[in-house]
Every structure is written in structure tokens, then in C-alpha cells.
Amino acid sequence: MIDRHDVMRMARLARLELSEEEIDQYQEDLMRFLRSGQKLQQVDVAEVEGTSHAVHVAHELRPDQVGTSLRQEAVLSLGPRVEQGFFRVPRIVEGQE
């Protein structure tokens, strides 16, 4: 069972601002999705290791050599709001998830 509170909590975690209609819609979608996924819960996975990579590859490490960085102007050219070489963000409020 997923209630509106759960949906709003997920939205806060994901930094999404949802309308009332969206909250209703996603509540329903989440419930249906989880219902449909019920059959996964029944699969016996005792002793099974999870797969997080499709094909196993040996990890090749990168030598510690300094490469070329982007030019500062190029980096800042992407920014919606920049100031004196920095990206600017509004007030940071602690205390949210």
C-alpha cells in the first residue's frame, strides 16, 4: 500500500515538485507497478548473488597523469547563472532530505 505521504516523500527525495493531480497519478502508477512486480517477490533467490554488471570486465586503472581540463569560459558558458568564475546558486537551506 502506498499513500500520498509516500509519494510526497519520494518526490522530495527526487527533488520533484508535483501537482495534486500528479501525486494522485503517481500514487496509482506506483501501486500498479508494484502489484505487477509482485511475481518477482516470489522468485526463490536464496544463495543468488545480484548482478550489477552485465558482462564482467577486469578493472583497468588509469595512470595518475594530469590531462587537459576544459577552459573556464567554456565551463561557465553552460551555466544558467554564473558570477566571477563561479556557478551561482540561491540560498542553501539545510535540513531537507
Partner: protein, 484 residues
Amino acid sequence: MSKVSKGVLGMANYDTVIGLEIHVALLTDSKFLCSCSTAFGAPPNSQCCPVCLGLPGSLPTINEKAVECATKAGLALNCQINLFSKFDRKNYFYPDLPKAYQITQDAYPLCSRGFLDYYVDDQLVRTEITRIHMEEEAGKLIHSGSSIVSSDYSLVDYNRAGIALIEIVTAPDIHHPGQARLFVEQLRLLLSYIGVSDTKMEEGSLRVDANISLKPKDSDLLGTKVEIKNLNSFRALEKALEYEVSRQGEILDQGGTIRQESRTWDDRAGRTMSMRSKGDAPDYRLFPEPDLPPLCLEPAWVESIRASIPELPLERLGRLEEQFGLSRYEATFFVHYPDFCQIFFDLAEYDLSPKAIVNFLMGDYARLARERGHLDARRIAGLLTIVKEGLIGANQEGVVLDALFSSEKSAREIVKEQGLEALRDSTELQGVVDGVLTANPDLVARFRSGESKLLGYFVGQVMRATRGKADPEVVNKLLEEALS
């Protein structure tokens, strides 16, 4: 002030339990996950690339040197090195976190189960290291106001984003703020010995988060723990913990409960402040990093790292005490100043007593060397040797030392040029002694009638007349003969 004293009273009823999480920036040329430079102090956002900016489509690749440094730290801290470790994503939003997740190691860290031994009040204690894992650094925020809360906006510099860090997590077995400080001091020294970090706290290369809780004495129940974040100096660490001990003690004394929360240390106000005002504990939604395969290390590679670890501070302390007979105070000095220690070891190769070397290095030399840089051990040995041979008197040592710093000449050359050889020729000195006594008949009379302390005055006069070069032993002997 009344607050603190009340807390201290309360403290008597509780045991303090402290665990530390220490973030250490590793000494690599390029970042952890990309090849941008890690150099400190560049213009903002000038050491960035698609990877460390989290541009769409960019992918991380692990810096070999970072793994090497992390492994070395683990070995030096007596950890088990896990040949198989994995990377995870820790998801949270913050303006300084480019991908809105931090690549870290959660379930399978590189190192686990180690310890660090260190002295607390002459007693050797051990703190367990639970784990050491690798992770990436975030960017740097500059606030428009004096603090984050009072700022209307902040500026972000991603030069630091993606620098390799290790997080060292201790078991909660530290019992007072002073011990926490000693632990971190010893840890910092060890890390600088093995060269994996510059450990500059003022540049943020070493940062401490502390978990602290109080439990009633003789109780098995752990108290609620409070996390204090980003303690950037030894002083802040100790002060913040002391503050928490009294704050929590006071709350408990009054029958209150401690809230599990993160707090931050306000150095100016001298107190900790709550960081999270609402909402529940963060949910980081950790899951395996799909962009990075697991890290599999070869045992032989780990052994080659082990072989590269130099003598560590505690071993060195023991060696200085046992092999060279230094006191704890002296040995500690040399352990903390590896440059002085190196010169000590170099001088010990000469035919000189350790005591003489230590007295010399910890004396005027220490001050001069800090101002002007070290002298070559060979030249110091030259000075100490002529002192030992008695070529110059103790009083001339300082003169020669000054000259050693300001010229390239050897001690012997300086002594010769300036005619500083000690006067110990009895016949020559006899004349000076006679002159001094003749010039002071009254004093000689007083001495003979029992004022024996006047001998010092006569010695002083002889030394003055010889510009300090007279051998005090010979002078004493001659004076005693003349006055008897």
C-alpha cells in the same frame, strides 16, 4: 562559563563514547575519477572536465595512484586489504555535488579491521579502525554572507570536485575529547610519514566528523549519538567535543533526551549548532555503481605496496628511546619533526654521544634551522667533534654555529680564522688569573675569610679577560690553587 562548569559536574555521571570519521585528501596529481589537476589555488572552475562537472554522458575512471595511496594507508593502519572491493553511488542533492551522487564504497570497502596505537598520558592505547574506503570529494562553496545560513546565495567552484579521498572510520572507543585529538594527531603524523596526503587541515585535506554520545556510568546501554561535522582543526575537534560533553550531560542531568542529529561547530560562538531542523534521516539510496566494475587487486601488488611503507612514528619513537636512550620528550620531538630526526640519524653515524646530538639539535640549532633551513649533517658533526675534543669552549659554540649558517666554511676553519680555540695553557692563563686576583685584593680577602661564592666572580672575570675562550676547568683549578 557557568554552562561549562555545570556540564563538567554532570560529566562525572557519564562515560563519553566517541567515534571518528576522518576524510583525507590523497596526494595524487590528477583527480580520483578524471585526469584534471588537483593543484590547490587555481582560478575557480579552471580544473574541470566533463567527468568532474557531471556533464551528461561522462564516465568515471579510477586513478591507480589513489588506489595505491588508499592501500598504503590501510596497510600502515594494520588493516585487512580486501582484494575484492566495489563502488557505490550515494545519492543526495547539494549544489557542490555535480552528479547529485557521490561515488564511494559502501558494502565492500577497500580496507577493514585495523587499528592505530598511540600514547595518551604516557599510556599506550589502541583505537580500532573499522574500515577505510575510497570516495570522491565535492566542490567548494563560497557563501555571500558570513555563514551558510546568513547567505542569500552561494558560489560554487568545482576544482576540488572529484579529488580522491579516503574516509577512515574508527570504532566508538575513544573516551574523551583530548584522546580524540591525540588520535587524530597521531593519524595525521602517520599519513604524512607514508606520504599519501599533505594532511593540511587549513586547506581541508584532512577533515574530521565526530560521533559522540554519553552513557550513564556502568550502563551497557549506548546513548543517542550526535554527529558533529567538518571539524577543521585540532582545536575545533577538541572544543566541539568538550562542548558536546557538557551540552549532552546537562540535558541528561535534567532528565532530557538527546536528539539524534547532525551538528556543526561554530568556532566564533564556541558552540555546536543543529544542522537539520526538520525531516527525518537522509535516505542516500546507496546502490552499486554501474559505471565502475569491482576492483580486484593482486596479492603481489598489495605486497609491493607493503614493502614501500617506511618506519612509522610509533616504531621510530621506540627505536629512539631504546636504541639511542632518548627520553620520551626528546624522542617525541624527533618523531614529530622528521627533518630533525633525519639529521639526528645522520649525526649518530659519527662518533658522537646521542645526548650531545640531542642537546645540540633541540637547542639554539632548532630555532636557527627553522629560520634558515638545515645545515649539512657533516658540518654539524664537525662542530660537535671540536666541542667534544675541547678545541673550543662551550661558550664559543654559538659563535661557530652562527658562522656555519652564514658561510660555507667548516667549523674547524671558522675556529681557526677567528682564533676561537679554547685557552687551556696553564702558564698563559696563570698570568690572567694572577692579574684578576691582584686587581681585587679586597675580594680575595673576603673569599679567604669564607665567602666562597666569590669564586664564581673570579672565574667570570677571567673569562671576560679571555673573551670567553678560557677553559673553565683550567681556570677553576688555577684559581683554587692561587687562593688556597
